[in-house]
Symmetry: D2
Subunit: 151 residues, 4 copies
Amino acid sequence: MSTRERGDQDFEARVRESFAKQGLMDTLGASIARVLPGAVEIVLPASPAVSQQHGFVHAGAVASIADSAAGYAALSLMPSGAGVLTTEFKINLVAPAFGDRIVARGRVVKAGRTLTLAQTEVFAERDGQEKLVALLTATLMAIEGRAGVSD
Amino acid sequence: MSTRERGDQDFEARVRESFAKQGLMDTLGASIARVLPGAVEIVLPASPAVSQQHGFVHAGAVASIADSAAGYAALSLMPSGAGVLTTEFKINLVAPAFGDRIVARGRVVKAGRTLTLAQTEVFAERDGQEKLVALLTATLMAIEGRAGVSD
Amino acid sequence: MSTRERGDQDFEARVRESFAKQGLMDTLGASIARVLPGAVEIVLPASPAVSQQHGFVHAGAVASIADSAAGYAALSLMPSGAGVLTTEFKINLVAPAFGDRIVARGRVVKAGRTLTLAQTEVFAERDGQEKLVALLTATLMAIEGRAGVSD
Amino acid sequence: MSTRERGDQDFEARVRESFAKQGLMDTLGASIARVLPGAVEIVLPASPAVSQQHGFVHAGAVASIADSAAGYAALSLMPSGAGVLTTEFKINLVAPAFGDRIVARGRVVKAGRTLTLAQTEVFAERDGQEKLVALLTATLMAIEGRAGVSD
């Protein structure tokens, strides 16, 4: 496996430290569950604090953890010192997001020098069972040498 | 102007009451600024509570208010009693979102019987000046006669 | 397996007959290679007739076969008599599309009563090897009982 | 107006020469109608050659001219010698595309050094009247110094 494919040895530490700086994840109550090379899982407990008007988890909260999962999956394969920014994402919401918790699993589809394509599947967990609620594709940009943008 | 085009007379009350039920908007600190037929503005003060790792406002927070602005723009033109759900959205993030506050302006592009297309422009305000930071397009679905899904 | 999951017995005939009516596919030189329940493969020989300005296959040609593959994957699971229309799609182009031929493999992610989400992976074949060049997600709508829209 | 905003003086020649090299546009029967700095219009006569199965213009043909219009709007603002590639686009199809001809009007939303965001509105013309049928947003990448990728 090449350096490009696995990133440096401390990719997990880089991802977890960067995630800890995302104030939004703390505000939503999201936590990072797993970090593998090119794959990251983020979990969000369902609660009224992240709801939309019918009591489901808000599409924006679903998108927030899905975007972070895609972004950190991408970052895990980038060289140490690089920062990651989302340039665009699209999310399809295929079922109302309700249950005990929401799980976003991001993985890299294609890692490039500047742009990486990642995809996140989002599931709602109810009574120990998972149901697909959303699918996101995102383009992530590696930023190198810009002050203040490093992960 | 037809009923379809302007919605019922109390569209503003319907939108504001529904918005008040979105726990996520309260958690983020977002508020609804303007409600016109087919157009809604939502404002989010920038703060560490909605940040990503470099201190910018998180793409997920930007997307959350942009999605709500699109959804309520759509709801404002739907008949009384209908509920609105987002089926998909895409957001392009064209500049880092930082400043004093983030303003999302959603408007309906095409209102259909079942599906509505809406678009939201998102600006960062700094020192009284606005800069475009994101553009979202969303498909919203009108839900009628489903228990628990009414706005 | 339920009727919903597999569609009727003649799904393959319905898909192939409908495909044969798509003038664009004939104009591009595309053909339908495989039809399974919820999965369709379309093949496009690379040629100057479908190129962009640098000699790669045009993103629009790639998107055309990817959209048709997604649409027919969706149609294969719809009841006999239903028509299918694309309401939106997004495509990420991760590498220039050049080679001997372009292969689009669509599959249904989530089949709903009205809306179906499908995804298509597009590969360029060169010297017998495949390389991922694009990823598309599409929302397809089932149309029933509208004159002129049946497949 | 800066050089960045208007491109070089011969942007129109560069765009028209590049368009003439797109084999797909010729195959579809599309022509370039107007070229302004940051805005390009492409026209496609409706015909069975570009149809889908119900006789409407195929979403892929609509997307093809919409993508080219976005790409050339972006190219018109890029420095001489740069090439343009689409990295992603999303299209919402809000009405069946039928009529005498289809008109795609692309314009730049935000021009950046590497990435440009452009948007295209697509109209169907019938009996001299226009109706919105699709809305596309695209990310275009400027390529400089890569052999074979110059416009």
